[in-house]
Symmetry: C2
Subunit: 253 residues, 2 copies
């Protein structure tokens, strides 16, 4: 039984609290939240603390706060020589305070408070300073996920950037699709099966194999007609740049 | 029973042949393919023609060829005063020859020859010159799909452009994610659950509500660190432009 505590009450913290509450291999000892009411629906009140000085030493302490608060929180931890990890995709492991043993426990997923996720499917990227801490984190991650990956700080940074492209930027393209529909009295629902299929295709094909469309075909006539149709400056520039990138990518092969 | 013929043997044509072959409400009379062997696994050889002059009049003739061949094919059709439709997202209905009654039957999906699709889930966008032809196309579309939409030529153009954003461009972002993984000795598989979840989120949330990430948070420090990390010119420019577009989009609200 791994004893753990979670510092934080945001999206990631809340999803971790829920996932570990269901696990039979772990014991969630404490949750730190400045506003206890934010997590009171997830865990019994005797386990919630709102003063970091009340934090007690456990096997793994997970700092699940916003990137810019991680260093300050790690510095305020009242105990020493324990395993303390953060959950960020972009903060290096070594940003954590040296008084405790460092590690990373990064669930690679987009969390919304209002949407349930199946943690078993979420890849967890772990990193630690020594072999025994790494083993501990592997056991911890396996208790809630089927996908556990050893990823060092440099790789994690790359992965976070890749995630921005395939998730944040992709969602923005959905936004543009939705905007174009709205401007033309069309329901965004018409695009949803296409969006699903585009995401499903790369489960069986590489993105290279799955690429279709006027840019891939170098169909200049359609590309120019589309650029002529678009009036929004951002939409036009994004269309141009991604088209050029697809065409240049095809030339590299 | 609607009698129909299909002209073409590419991705769209092949998927339509398969879908209509399963439908009990339609009879597939002829398929035109310059190379009969390309469609011989989908339909009996007596129905395949390779000379357009052998095409006979039916209730609906579907031209499912590449955009730039539609006009030439429509001109060569040997009969008159029948309903002839094309399947393109970007060609206007009126590009078809006036000797036949015009229409559009546009399945909004990304087709790969190697991947099966469930046609029932594919939105079909139809357009016709008169009410009775429209009714005919509605019946035809409903025989293979649960989503049938009246979409005029201008709306269809907009929809096609929106589809380029949410599908072709999105797939290119997957490509970039895959490239970044490869460069950093990471498996692209780690990103796949995130890609699925990003596509699933917009089934229950608007893209606006679903947006997350450093650009949305205007987290300049992370954005600059990512730009510093990226060395590929295209990747850097795409990162900058989409980040700016997300930030500006947030300001509009």
């Amino acid at each position: 039984m791994i004893r753990l505590s979670i510092i934080g009450s945001g999206n990631v913290a809340q999803h971790l609290i829920q996932a570990f509450s269901k696990s039979t291999e772990t014991e969630l000892v404490q949750v730190f939240s400045r506003q206890p009411e934010v997590v009171s629906h997830l865990i019994t009140s005797d386990k919630i603390i709102s003063d970091l000085n009340h934090l007690i030493a456990v096997d793994v302490t997970i700092i699940a706060v916003s990137d810019d608060a991680i260093v300050a929180v790690a510095n305020q931890i009242p105990f020493e020589n324990q395993l303390v990890v953060h959950t960020s995709g972009s903060v290096p492991m070594n940003a954590l305070h040296t008084k405790n043993r460092k590690g990373v426990f990064y669930p690679l997923q987009t969390f919304s408070k209002t949407k349930e996720v199946d943690f078993k499917l979420i890849p967890i990227c772990i990193e630690a300073e020594n072999e025994s801490d790494l083993e501990q984190l592997i056991t911890l991650a396996k208790s809630i996920s089927n996908s556990v990956n050893n990823v060092n700080s440099e790789q994690r940074k790359a992965l976070h950037i890749a995630a921005v492209f395939v998730s944040n930027f992709t969602n923005h393209l959905y936004q543009i699709g939705s905007d174009i529909c709205k401007e033309n009295n069309l329901s965004f629902d018409i695009l949803k099966p296409l969006i699903q299929e585009t995401a499903n295709k790369i489960l069986t094909l590489s993105p290279q194999e799955a690429q279709t469309g006027p840019a891939k075909r170098q169909d200049t006539q359609t590309i120019n007609a589309h650029l002529h149709f678009l009036t929004d400056g951002h939409q036009k520039e994004i269309y141009k740049m991604l088209t050029k990138s697809i065409i240049d990518n095809g030339k590299k092969l």
